[in-house]
Structures are given as C-alpha cells and as structure tokens.
Symmetry: C2
Subunit: 135 residues, 2 copies
DNA sequence: CAGAATCCAAATCGATACTG
DNA sequence: CAGTATCGATTTGGATTCTG
C-alpha cells in the first residue's frame, strides 16, 4: 500500500544482512586481525611479553588511545593477557595467551601468502593502471 | 629550540610508520580481504562466474556503488576478471582469476580457523564481560 | 607509568538519482 | 543492464589534556 514498501523491504534486507555478517565468525575474525594495530601488536608480543610503554615505543606512531583500545579488545577476546604489578609506579605487562599464539600462526600464514603473491598483485596493478591511463 | 620540536618528531614518526604500514604486503593483504564485501564476493565467485546483477542479488544489501567499487579494486589486483559482452543490453561477467582462486583458499583457511576458535573467543568474551559487569 | 576523557578532522558508506 | 555521480549521515582515528 504505502509508497515506501519497496524501500522498506530493501532496508530490511540490508539490516538483516548486516546482522548476518556481523555474527559470522569468519567476518569477525577478519575484522579483528585486519585492524591497523592488531597484527603489529600480536607480532610484537609473539617474541615475548612487553610492558605498555614498550609496546608504545616499539610500535611508533600509535597513540595511547588506540594502543589501550586495541589491547583491551584483544584481552576481551582472550588473545592477550594483562598482568598488573601493583608497585609504585604500577607496571603492566601484556603477553600472548595460547589462543593468541595460535592466532599468531595464522597471521604467519597470511604473511607468507602475502609475500608469495605480492609480486603478482603488483604486476596486475601496473597492467591495470597502464591500460587505464590510456584513457 | 622551538616548543613544537617534540610534537613534530612524534608526527614525523607517525607519518613514517604510516608509510611503512601501507607499503607492507601483509598489511595490504589484510586490509583487502577484510573489506566488508570482499570475502562475500570472492566466495560467491568461487562457485563460478557471475553477472553484475547476479552478484548484487546474491549479496543482498550491497549498494551498486560498493559493488562496483569493490569489484574494480579486485580487478585491479588481478583477483577477478571482468568480461564485457557487447550485446544489447550489455552483459558483464565476473570470475575469479587463478590468483583469485588461490586467495579463496587462503580465505578458507581463515574461515576454518575462525570456526575452530570462535567458541574459545566467545567464552573469553563472556568471562571478560562478566567480570567487568561487576563494577 | 598506564591509562581515561574529550574534542575534532577525515575517511567511509549508503541512499538516491541519473546515464550509455 | 551495468554502472556513475552526488550528497549526507556515521564512523573512526588522532591530538591533547588530565589522573590514580
């Protein structure tokens, strides 16, 4: 009846699809590991535990806000463990959990794929750009 | 001398790091595959070639703009191939290249990891949220 | 030291309408 | 059919400042 029915249906489909995507484990994982700082933090911690400020120094360019935010979400997902030593001043260490180490392995697989195929991708890009430039 | 020296140095570090991250193959790959629509498109095409509108229908909720944009960047990277059949009306088919199929395998590996560990992640989340709620 | 809170600029995404 | 162009809403990330 209403003239908005079609639009409403599309909107509904979109919302449902959004929910589906957000609940999809694969997508959740993809979103997590592709976060700008996650792979850097995980690979830094793969070598051993580190203090907050050490991470901040090792990963130059990260703001305290993003470092904390990323670390918190990784902690929540059980990927890193946070240990507070109540000295003065306080000392906080972060380290990978077993799950985190496992994730680190997956990241290594991704890294290997990237290194094996980056050349091919770059060639494709050059070809594409060259033919586009001929506009 | 200047009071801005420290800030400038931080800024410089950030810019350099940004450049480093952007040029890093692993990060480029991560950014690409975690794009909201990429994994959906690649897995849809893994089953065979598809027309533009078929993709749009299969992946409900994607706008023409995002579909085109995603497809174009995948084409540029040599992951999908675009074939135009100049009939009336025109017909455009998309399919995975060998590189694209290879990527599809990596995506499968990621998917497997996600499915194997999602439970563990969810438990960690519940635990974390439960202890946070006790605030 | 390790972070929390606030503010703001920039990039992103989607809806919509139009075209060859 | 297969897009392109434009605009507005939303999200995101960073700088900055402050605190236990």
């Amino acid at each position: 009846m209403a003239t908005t029915t079609a639009a409403q249906r599309r909107e509904k489909a979109r919302v449902e699809y959004d929910a589906f995507i957000k609940s999809c484990p694969t997508n959740q994982l993809l979103v997590r590991i592709s976060d700008k700082w996650v792979s850097l933090i995980v690979s830094a911690l793969a070598e051993g535990s580190m203090r907050y400020s050490d991470l901040g120094r090792k990963i130059a360019g990260v703001s305290p806000k993003m470092l904390t935010q990323t670390l918190r979400s990784l902690e929540r997902d059980g990927i890193v463990a946070r240990t507070v030593t109540p000295s003065v001043p306080v000392r906080v260490d972060y380290e990978l959990t077993p799950l985190g180490m496992n994730l680190s392995c997956l990241l290594t697989a991704v890294k290997d794929w990237a290194e094996q195929h980056i050349e091919e991708v770059n060639e494709a890009r050059d070809r594409y750009d060259a033919s586009s430039a001929a506009s």
